[in-house]
């Protein structure tokens, strides 16, 4: 029970603090905070906003899990951003050019995305293992390289074609056999919920299962908790770096999938960018746990959707960015405080119980 409560304390404290800071900023800039929050809530709970929030959080969830896999063993894959964009480009290109039966078509698209994402992340793993290059540096650099490659390939005579009636260019649209229909469950909404929400749920459950039930997951957690003890226990650190980087990159490949097979059907210049960095923030917010990340991505998506109303009321919507930033920063501190408290609390409990046992034994003697 205490474990459960403690798990909640840190994020709640951090969110409370973020709300406080936002409120102060609103007050200072002369906007009535309650009014602003009311506007956001009203707008955010409209049917269309709800669908948008859920769809956005599906994408965010995948992004955060991709990051969390690495974080669990203190491997910082900052390159999720480049990995998913590159993966989405190739997946869209292949998806637009093959003709296959419905389920197989989608499977091929997903596989291409996973493989491209994994390979791109693998570059950083090889650099780290062979040359000792910090993955933080190499993955950041690889993001820029990915941007360059995408700009090069997304051209009319290569992967892309001009989209009719616009200046935009994109890959050839994925035919209906490669599209995943959505769920029309929110009444009054104009768009459905992505069918790929099932994929995100499977990834979350799979991540939890892998961490807690498999040997690989144990090795991964052990490497994160103590690299020295992990090595002494026989875990090959280099192999772990390679596998975890490939896994993280493969999962990163999935980030673009909901958008690709559920709404856009093409990779064009408007394809959402920066999701990898959002994923980092949400992984921190959700403490790398599949459940924590679920709440984190829903919250993040809700804020991103409901902030759209603010400009109409003359409030700068960047106020929400501040709130998100403060929340992430303070959650990191709050988690660390709770972690330390947990350790000392448990040490104290054990001391108390053993002392009580010793006293009973003494009384009996």
């Amino acid at each position: 029970m205490r474990k459960f409560l403690l798990a909640l304390v840190a994020p709640l404290l951090a969110l409370g603090f973020a709300l406080l800071v936002t409120t102060v900023i609103l007050l200072v800039s002369g906007h009535p905070p309650l009014d602003v929050y009311q506007q956001m809530w009203d707008y955010g709970t409209q049917p269309d906003s709800i669908v948008l929030t859920i769809n956005l959080s599906t994408t965010y969830y995948l992004a955060a899990i991709a990051v969390a896999v690495g974080f669990k063993m203190n491997l910082f894959n900052i390159g999720v951003d480049g990995q998913y964009r590159l993966a989405a480009l190739f997946a869209a290109f292949v998806g637009g050019h093959v003709s296959l039966p419905p389920v197989l078509h989608v499977t091929v698209i997903i596989l291409v995305a996973v493989i491209v994402g994994a390979l791109w992340a693998g570059v950083a793993a090889v650099l780290k293992n062979r040359r000792g290059v910090s993955e933080v540096i190499s993955t950041i650099m690889l993001n820029y390289v990915a941007t360059g490659i995408i700009a090069f390939l997304l051209a009319p005579d290569k992967f892309a074609e001009l989209i009719e009636g616009s200046n935009n260019i994109g890959t050839k649209p994925i035919p209906s056999s490669g599209q995943v229909p959505g769920f029309d469950v929110v009444s009054g909404a104009s768009a459905p919920i992505y069918g790929t929400i099932v994929l995100a749920a499977a990834v979350g459950i799979g991540f939890w299962w892998m961490l807690n039930r498999t040997r690989f997951g144990f090795d991964l957690r052990a490497s994160g908790l103590s690299p020295t003890a992990a090595t002494a226990s026989g875990i090959d650190a280099k192999r772990m770096v390679l596998f975890v980087m490939l896994l993280s990159g493969g999962l990163a490949g999935l980030i673009g999938i909901p958008q690709l097979v559920g709404a856009a059907y093409t990779y064009n210049l408007d394809f959402p960018a920066g999701l990898g960095f959002t994923g980092i923030a949400i992984a921190l917010l959700g403490r790398n746990s599949p459940v924590g990340i679920l709440f984190g991505s829903l919250l993040w998506a809700f804020l991103d959707v409901s902030r759209q109303i603010l400009d109409l009321g003359g409030v700068s919507k960047e106020i929400v960015t501040i709130m998100q930033g403060v929340a992430v920063l303070s959650v990191v501190i709050a988690y660390e405080l709770v972690r330390r408290y947990r350790i000392t609390a448990q040490q104290r409990d054990v001391g108390r119980q053993l002392a009580a046992e010793a006293e009973m034994a003494g009384a009996a003697a």
Partner: protein, 517 residues
Amino acid sequence: MEEGVISTETVAGDVAVQLRGITKTFPGVRANFDIDITVRRGTVHAIVGENGAGKSTLMKTLYGMHRPDEGTIEIDGKPVTLKSPSDAIALGVGMVHQHFQLADNFTVLENIILGDEPTSSGVLKMDVARERILEIGKAYRLSVDPDALVEDVGVGDRQRVEIIKALYRGCRTLILDEPTAVLVPQEVEQLFSALAELKSQGLTVIFISHKLDEVLSVADEITVIRGGTTVTTVLPHEVTARQLAELMVGSELPSPETRESTVTDRVLLDVSSVSLANDAGRVVLEDISFTIHAGEVVGIAGVEGNGQAELVETVMGLQKPFAGSVRLGDEDITAWSTRARREAGVGYIPEDRTRHGLLLEASLWENRILGHQTEAPNAKGVLIDRKGARADTERIVAEYDVRTPGINVIASALSGGNQQKLIVGREMSGNPRVLVAAHPTRGVDVGAQAAIWDEIRKARVAGLGVLLISADLDELIGLSDRIKVLLRGRFVADADPHTVTPEQLGSAMTGAGGESS
């Protein structure tokens, strides 16, 4: 300050430090209660007790690192309240911690004045400091080179630096926490002659230890602490080491002796001509050869940093030698990974249990899995067998007497001795063929020490081969069937544990004694 160095005119017999009814409780733990100690000026007063008996808590109280819940502290006959170590220092109490608190990349001089630098209008006055340090060195016969870098000097020198540091701050009562734990016998003698010098000049030394022979030879009075309180104070000529130890544990005493030989002619581990270089390319092990037979304990003696850690890592596959081979039974395992070696039956008790032996923030049953991730009862195929691991952890906790309220607590909640018992239990599970035990009883209490010795002995009878590395020469002599001495990465001597004395071993370890036996 200056008189601190020169003043000698104190009458031995005055009370320097008096502790009355000291009680210190941490939430749930009564670390000290009703402690009474009287330390006379100009004496060496030893405080002995098992690990966890409350010695460190008491010394932290005296050094102002925390305040007692009850009781009084008198220094030089005046009751005092110590709010921080700086209060203690101002009253002439200095402390040398077990783990030295020195900056490696500073010189001896810089380390000594750190925090108490003589300045004139903001500019360091190094010459003044150097002069005073040399003066202290001369007065107490503590020789150090003020301009040497601390990282370049040996352990004994570092300790002298710590002592001079305390004296430099005008200390009149010096607390030494386990000062001999890191020293070889020759260095211990140097330390003791320095203590005699301090004593003769009227300084008071409080000496914390659990090495009883040393305590008996150096102390004027000995206070025994057990279970957080003072048991008695005795004079060294009144007691034997054995009686003292029994006072400490409150019962009959174990000993590491194993005499009947169980050595067979079946070779389990065969290390031949192994040479290893470190990352910087320096050769740290040179042409190392030895064999371990079934039922045999081979002890490796050596001053820390002479290649023992590297030898262990080579046997465990954590380091790859550039020459030579390692065979386990009939198989050449030179190229095997650490995991393959563990799976083949090499148990490993690492030197530093918190860094290499445990996941401190993981539960006990998860720590049971560590190092044996691929083996029953921890795994079924690629999956972790949680039920199996938990059940087996319960077994280890019961069989090895790991004191814990349950197997779900995190490893860092246990005391060092209990952590070590868990590790020993884990490594003995699954019938290992060879056990690599690096300092298996370092920093554990007497009870746990006896239990661990017992386990090693039992396993030896059952045909286990043990590679034992230890800085505790009594343990090494008591448990080993053969002892090899490692100096600067080479074997320089063999010793027969039946005949060798710790002093002879110590000489061989420092390269002073030549071949023994």
